[in-house]
C-alpha cells in the first residue's frame, strides 16, 4: 500500500501541471501545431515571404538584365533542346525571350504576390472590422445602409470590377503611382471590405445578446471600450480565419490581372522594388509554351503552392480557433 503511494508521488507535480488551465489562445495554438497540413502550409508561406524579402540577395541574376544571344535557353537539366539550344548552368530555369533569367524573375515575382496578399488584406480588415462592428452594435440606419451597400457590391462581379478599374485608370497618375500597385490595392480593398464587415456585423449581432455584454453595459462601461475590450477579442478568431482564406483570392486576382496585361507596370530602372509579377510572367510565357515552358510552369507552380498553403493554414486555423466548425464546408 505504502509502495503504491510512493510510486505515485513523482507524478503529482505533473498532475498539478495538467490541472493548470490553459488560456483558449494557448489551446488553439496547440491544436494548430498538431495539424500537420497547416504547419506545412505555414512553412511554405514563411518560405515565400523570405524569398520576397531577400529577393535581391537570392536572385542569381539581375531580373531585368538582357543578354543578347541567350534567349530561350532551356533549364539547366536539359542538355540540349530539339532546336539545338544548349543550356547554361548559370541559368537554372533557363531564360526568356530577351535572355533574362527566369529563376530571378520568378523570385522577384514573389514580392508582388506576397505584398498583394497582405497589404490590401490589412486595409480591409481595419476598415471592415470598424464598420462591421459599428453597424452591428449600433444597428438602425447605419446597419441598413451597410447592408444595402454590401448587396450592391456583392452583385458586381468583382473580377469585372477590377478589370474595368484597371483598364480605365491605368494611364492616369493614380494608375502610375507605385507602378500601378496602388490602384490594385485600392480596388481590391474597395470590393473586399464588405465581406469582412458583414462577417463582423453578424458576429457582433449575436454577441451583443450575450450576458457578459449586458453585464458590461450594466456596470457602465462605455461603448468604445465594450467594442475594443469585449467585442473585438471575441470576433478575432473569425477574422483570422477569414484573412487566411481571403489572401489567396487576392494573389489569384493579381495573377489574373497580370495575365491580362493589366497588372504591374514594368519598371524603368532595375533598382525598383517590384520588378515583375507571377501573372506578368504567365503572360510572357504563354507565347513561348513550346520554346521555354518554364516561363509558364515556374510561376504556375508557385501560385499553386502559395494558394494551397494558405488553404491548408486556413483549414487548420478554423479547426483550431472554432472547434465547433470542425469538418464543415
Amino acid at each position: 500500500m505504502t509502495a503504491q503511494v510512493e510510486a505515485q508521488v513523482p507524478n503529482i507535480p505533473n498532475f498539478g501541471e495538467a490541472l493548470k488551465t490553459k488560456t483558449p489562445n494557448q489551446e488553439a495554438l496547440e491544436r494548430l501545431a498538431r495539424n500537420k497540413a497547416s504547419i506545412v502550409g505555414l512553412v511554405i508561406i514563411v518560405f515565400f515571404m523570405l524569398v520576397a524579402i531577400f529577393a535581391r540577395v537570392l536572385a542569381p541574376h539581375d531580373p531585368l538584365e538582357i543578354t543578347s544571344g541567350q534567349k530561350y535557353l532551356p533549364p539547366a537539366w536539359v542538355k540540349e533542346t530539339a532546336g539545338g539550344k544548349a543550356s547554361n548552368p548559370a541559368y537554372l530555369l533557363g531564360t526568356d525571350s530577351l535572355g533574362r533569367d527566369v529563376l530571378s524573375r520568378v523570385i522577384f515575382g514573389a514580392r508582388v504576390s506576397m505584398v498583394v496578399g497582405f497589404v490590401p488584406t490589412f486595409i480591409i480588415v481595419v476598415i471592415g472590422t470598424i464598420i462591421g462592428m459599428t453597424a452591428g452594435y449600433l444597428g438602425g440606419t447605419w446597419d441598413n445602409i451597410l447592408m444595402r451597400l454590401t448587396d450592391v457590391i456583392y452583385a458586381f462581379p468583382d473580377l469585372l470590377f477590377f478589370i474595368i478599374v484597371m483598364v480605365s485608370l491605368r494611364d492616369t497618375w493614380l494608375g502610375q503611382f507605385m507602378n500601378g500597385m496602388f490602384l490594385l490595392f485600392a480596388s481590391l480593398a474597395i470590393v473586399n471590405w464588405v465581406g469582412i464587415a458583414r462577417l463582423v456585423r453578424g458576429q457582433v449581432l449575436s454577441l451583443k445578446q450575450k450576458e457578459f455584454i449586458e453585464a458590461a453595459r450594466a456596470i457602465g462601461v462605455k461603448t468604445p471600450r465594450i467594442m475594443t475590450h469585449h467585442l473585438l477579442p471575441n470576433t478575432l478568431g473569425v477574422i483570422i480565419v477569414y484573412i487566411a482564406f481571403r489572401i489567396p483570392g487576392m494573389i489569384i486576382t493579381e495573377a489574373i490581372l497580370g495575365y491580362l496585361g493589366l497588372g504591374l507596370r514594368p519598371p524603368a530602372n532595375s533598382q525598383a522594388f517590384f520588378v515583375t509579377s507571377w501573372g506578368g510572367l504567365l503572360l510572357e510565357g504563354q507565347t513561348a509554351i513550346n520554346a521555354q515552358p518554364w516561363i509558364l510552369l515556374a510561376p504556375a507552380i508557385c501560385i499553386a503552392l502559395v494558394v494551397l498553403a494558405f488553404t491548408f493554414l486556413g483549414d487548420g486555423l478554423r479547426d483550431a480557433l472554432d472547434p465547433r466548425m470542425r469538418g464543415s464546408q
Partner: protein
C-alpha cells in the same frame, strides 16, 4: 412566393443601374479613349470631332448619354432609339460599323453567305463550352462525392478530399497551364490551338479545365450532403423495412442529397460562362470571353462596357435562380420574409 419573385426581379434594376453607372463613369474618365476631351491627345480637327460626337451622341450631357445607353433617347430626327432594354449596346469603337451586340450574338456566315445557327455566335460558343464543362463537372463530381461519403474515412475519401481541396483553391488557369504542358507540349496528344472547333474532341480539354473547380466544389458539396443524409431517420427506416441497399442509396439517399447540388447549377453555369475569359484566351477559343480580353487589349471601350453589363446581368440572374430552384426541389422551404 409571387411577390417575393417580383421583388427579387425588381432588385435587379438598381443593381444593373449601379454596375452600368460605375462602368460608364470609369470608362468616361479614361485617357486616350474616344470620350477623351483632352485637346492635346486629340488627333482629329475640331469640325471632324464635332460631327463625330454628334453622330455618336457624345455632344450631349453625360447624364443624358448614360440614360441613352441604359434606357434610350431621341435621336436628331426625333425618333426614339431604344438602348439596353432592347439589346442595343451601341457601336464598337474598333470594329467599324459593327454594334457590340452583333460581335457577341451574331453568328458568322458560312461559305454561301448564309448565317450559321445562333450557337455559332461568340456567346453561343461560350454557352456551349460552359454547358459541356458543367456536364463534366456534375457527371464526375457527383459520383466522386457519393463514393467518398459512402466510404468515409477510407483512402478513397481522403484522395477525393485532396483533389477537391486542390481543385477549389488552385485557380483554373493554373491547372490549365499544367494540363496544356502535359498533354499538348509534352505528350502531344492534342494541339493547343486547334484549327477548327467543329470536331468534338478539341472541346474536351478546355471543358475539363474550365469545369475543374466546379467539379471539385460539387464533389465536396455532395460528400457533405450525403454524410448528412446517411444519418437520417428515413434512411434507417428504408433499411429496416428491408429495401435493397442499392434502392436505399439511389432512391432515398442520392435523391435527397442532390438538393444542395442542384441549387448551385445556376451560379455554376454563370460562373463557367462568364469566368472563362482566361481559359478561352489560352485555348484561342472563339467565345465571348476571348472577345472581352481582346477588347481590353484593343481598348474597345464600348465593347468592354457592353460585355461587362451582359456578364453582370448573367451573374445576377444566376444568383437569383438559386432561391427559385431551392423552392422547386425542396417543398419544405417557403420563401417569405
Amino acid at each position: 412566393m409571387t411577390t417575393y419573385l417580383i421583388r427579387r426581379l425588381l432588385w435587379l434594376i438598381p443593381v444593373i443601374l449601379v454596375v452600368g453607372a460605375v462602368t460608364f463613369i470609369l470608362m468616361h474618365n479614361t485617357p486616350g479613349g474616344p470620350w477623351d476631351t483632352d485637346a492635346e491627345r486629340r488627333q482629329v480637327d475640331e469640325s471632324t470631332r464635332k460631327s463625330l460626337e454628334a453622330f455618336y451622341g457624345l455632344d450631349k450631357p453625360l447624364w443624358r448619354q448614360f440614360l441613352a445607353y441604359m434606357i434610350g433617347d431621341w435621336n436628331n430626327k426625333g425618333e426614339f432609339v431604344c438602348g439596353l432594354p432592347c439589346g442595343n449596346f451601341g457601336p464598337s469603337y474598333r470594329q467599324r460599323g459593327v454594334p457590340v451586340e452583333a460581335i457577341l450574338f451574331r453568328p458568322p456566315e458560312d461559305e454561301n453567305g448564309n448565317l450559321k445557327p445562333w450557337y455559332y455566335s461568340r456567346f453561343g460558343y461560350s454557352l456551349r463550352l460552359g454547358i459541356l464543362a458543367l456536364v463534366i463537372a456534375m457527371g464526375v463530381g457527383i459520383p466522386i462525392g457519393t463514393i467518398a461519403a459512402l466510404k468515409q474515412n477510407t483512402w478513397i475519401d481522403y484522395l477525393s478530399l485532396l483533389i477537391a481541396t486542390a481543385g477549389i483553391s488552385v485557380p483554373s488557369f493554373v491547372i490549365a497551364i499544367f494540363l496544356i504542358i502535359i498533354f499538348a507540349s509534352g505528350l502531344q496528344w492534342i494541339s493547343v490551338i486547334p484549327r477548327s472547333w467543329d470536331s468534338p474532341s478539341v472541346w474536351i480539354l478546355p471543358a475539363i479545365v474550365l469545369g475543374f473547380g466546379t467539379l471539385a466544389f460539387t464533389a465536396r458539396l455532395m460528400r457533405t450532403s450525403m454524410l448528412e443524409v446517411l444519418r437520417m431517420d428515413y434512411v434507417r427506416t428504408a433499411r429496416a423495412k428491408g429495401l435493397a441497399e442499392r434502392t436505399v442509396v439511389t432512391v432515398h439517399m442520392i435523391k435527397n442529397a442532390l438538393i444542395p447540388v442542384i441549387t448551385i447549377l445556376g451560379p455554376s453555369l454563370a460562373g463557367l460562362v462568364t469566368g472563362s475569359f482566361i481559359i478561352e484566351t489560352m485555348f484561342a477559343f472563339p467565345g465571348m470571353g476571348r472577345a472581352y480580353v481582346q477588347a481590353i487589349s484593343q481598348r474597345d471601350y464600348s465593347m468592354i462596357m457592353g460585355t461587362t453589363l451582359i456578364y453582370a446581368i448573367l451573374v445576377a440572374l444566376a444568383n437569383l435562380s438559386v432561391d427559385f430552384i431551392y423552392v422547386l426541389v425542396d417543398p419544405r422551404i417557403r420563401l417569405e420574409e
